[in-house]
Symmetry: C2
Amino acid sequence: MSEVIEGRRARGGGAARRAERTAVSFETAKFITRNIPNFEVLNEEALQIIEYNAETILEEIGVNFVENPAALQRWREAGADVRGERVHIPRGLARKLCSTAPSQFTQHARNPGRNVEIGGKSLVLAPVYGPPFVRDLEGGRRYATIEDFRNFVKLGYMSKWLHHSGGTVCEPTDIPVNKRHFDMLLAHMTLSDKPYMGSVTEPSRAQDSVDMSKILFGDDFVDQNTVMTSLININSPMTFDGIMMGALEVYAANNQASIVSPFIVGGAMAPVTVAGTLTQVLAEVLAGVAYSQLVRAGAPVIAGAFVTSIDMNSGAPTFGTPEAAHITWGTGQLVRRLGLPYRSAGAFCGSKLPDAQAAYESANSLNMGLSAGVNFMLHACGWLEGGLVSSYEKFVMDADQLGALHGLAKGVAVDDNAQALDAIREVGPGGHYLGCAHTQANFKTAFWRSDVLDYKPFETWEEEGARDTSQLASAKVKKMLADYVPPALDEGKREALEAYVARRKESMPDAFL
Amino acid sequence: MSEVIEGRRARGGGAARRAERTAVSFETAKFITRNIPNFEVLNEEALQIIEYNAETILEEIGVNFVENPAALQRWREAGADVRGERVHIPRGLARKLCSTAPSQFTQHARNPGRNVEIGGKSLVLAPVYGPPFVRDLEGGRRYATIEDFRNFVKLGYMSKWLHHSGGTVCEPTDIPVNKRHFDMLLAHMTLSDKPYMGSVTEPSRAQDSVDMSKILFGDDFVDQNTVMTSLININSPMTFDGIMMGALEVYAANNQASIVSPFIVGGAMAPVTVAGTLTQVLAEVLAGVAYSQLVRAGAPVIAGAFVTSIDMNSGAPTFGTPEAAHITWGTGQLVRRLGLPYRSAGAFCGSKLPDAQAAYESANSLNMGLSAGVNFMLHACGWLEGGLVSSYEKFVMDADQLGALHGLAKGVAVDDNAQALDAIREVGPGGHYLGCAHTQANFKTAFWRSDVLDYKPFETWEEEGARDTSQLASAKVKKMLADYVPPALDEGKREALEAYVARRKESMPDAFL
């Protein structure tokens, strides 16, 4: 099938070729290229109102860049009115600064067959990011460890419809806070050959991410190419903290991509209305992306929005809601008018279990993400309990559903074969198509098929234990982890990475906060 | 809230008023009026190819009207080339005949506050139709009975986001086949005041449906208004059987609405390609709708498509797939170009349980139905196991999700209140919106909220038994059935309906096949 690219690649050198021959590779689909239109919920008038109001926020209210004198100095030099830590950006300035950011860029993977294009009509899918807990069917809910982390990287590597290894697939809470990033990066770099994300929790950790990437890819390659996409959250409303911006500065200076992303629970960090939230999101994105371009004009950046609504009874964030969809659709339109790649959506849910609630909410969010024109979808699988939990079962359940997004994005062929008029002639009124020549020629690729869900007759399903989806997924998780084989990696690079990590870890005391 | 209409209505007469005072009414949302665009996957060229090919099918291949000499005679008189039971319809004729069908009509309910508009920008939601089995958490899977049937009518009556009582919400298998329709109609007419569907399994049963409706609404009212929408399946490919067409003839002659609906499992009853299926669906819809207009020009009709894909490994129908979405979107475009109301989608799934699979598949289908511009959505809640099972729990789970469709369809307001610029000014960088005036004024209606799903903190949820969605839904089912109170009904009408049913039942022996 043309959409599937092989992970296995010929590499130079006898040792590499020998390593290659013993390596098993798992097929990964090419990133999605949309052949369907985006869904647009805002008309031109609404877009112009929101764009005008966003500039009003920037100019009149301003945004805070906290504990970051260098950022304030950059803004001053760019023409902003800086009062204390508050930056007032004259109407039009932020938009103008954003124009140097590329509308599309390549994120390279160490396996070049797994490079991804971010922007335009593409959609790149990456796994859940950030949960301190994991859950599986047998073990229940517990703090995540580095073993869990490695397991999720393995599952991601083996997931056909997942293009990206992600970043903090769970928090390895058994490793000191100041050393986690080493083990996380090492896992992504050695256990997978898909593209990955860098650390953002300290500027020094961003620098470690760059330095380790240089070992993996080579110094020159990293200078000239984007090999990391990292998640820079904005503290909404309108606050850019020094640590996150420090990480962004490291990445931008090194030509590495940042996702500049307001983190919005509607009603708490943004107004309760969709138009109000869109206005604030746009103002924040404009300021954040503009700042990345002040650090280095032309640095790759993704304009993002993490958006949920809130249950006003309990204060809990809610997912898969219509308001989140409206914001996701609307932000897509606004970001496309800025000419930037767009990050949003994911397999979001508030459920505590990988049950029907989780699936309703996740399916709603995934569908909205596809139709909104999202280019980079973090949290595309494995997210549970409002992002507190990485779920083993939900990881493979969601990752399977991502196959449906690939199918949806293909659009509808209308060539002669697709028109099937000869088949309709052959079968005629009252016939059936199961055996006809056209069906025989096309059935293998005609319909998307789940690799997790149950399609068996009732009786067979009952005899096999009447398993629900989480039980089917649990069996799949176990099989995948048992079947896992790492991708080939040059031994010299592996040793250099491990030596770097050992040396850096030794240079600092453990910190657990 | 403006979108919710009260079921309680003032009626004339002291006795009616007394009955009214003791009646409890359950709020029902007004049918959806879309304030968002439809999603269109086919371009103009693709539409024209499919439309041209559909006319080729009608003219060159033809369609079968079996065991129905009167239909063949009608076609002959209309100008078709009839050979045996095969009707060849000259290019353009069917489309021309379809033009007398109304693009929109009102289906009246006995409570006029629950009338629905079918066509245009509206979306009317009706429950599952047809399963011989039911399932619930305690009782498992079993043959459906009339008690189950009545329970589902009660649940439908009490479901806020469901506009329509439906038809065969499950098959009451404990009632003789030839007498079921009486008990089913009686349940819809007495246990609910929402609009309902008539029987289609024999023309005489369609006539019973009309006659009972005349008792409920009055003879003149039924002559002049549409009070039933009934489901006429086409035996794809291209076959119109005498019994179904006989029912359609009764309904059309009485100015009652029919859904003319190819029943497609892609790869079996239609080609494996999307464009091929769309071509056949359009040909079948053209022929069926045209025929309804030959029976009575101007009779209300809904152009439908029941579409699933097939798992070519097992032969099982599959749901929530990308190909089904493509067909649902494409059929919507084709039907709108015919100027007809559109029926498709539903909470479709193949799962045996109301689990994550059921929810992924159903959410995919529901979202596609909304974005495809569907006007009448049968199976919008309760469908399980490929339509073999009506699930109690899934009925309330899906019915709850229908609230999200209402929210999505609202679109995005951009008035001053929605722009929320004053709120953004008031809160400012680093603040939060939970207490601000704008939030206080708007939070009650700002976000859709589920009445079934879990939004509680983890600890509370765990203390309350760590219930999954099906357990939460089971509790809701029990509470609803315990709280059920029938809508007020004139005693004279009730007695007349019961007398009609008793008399008609006595006139025929029981038949179980």
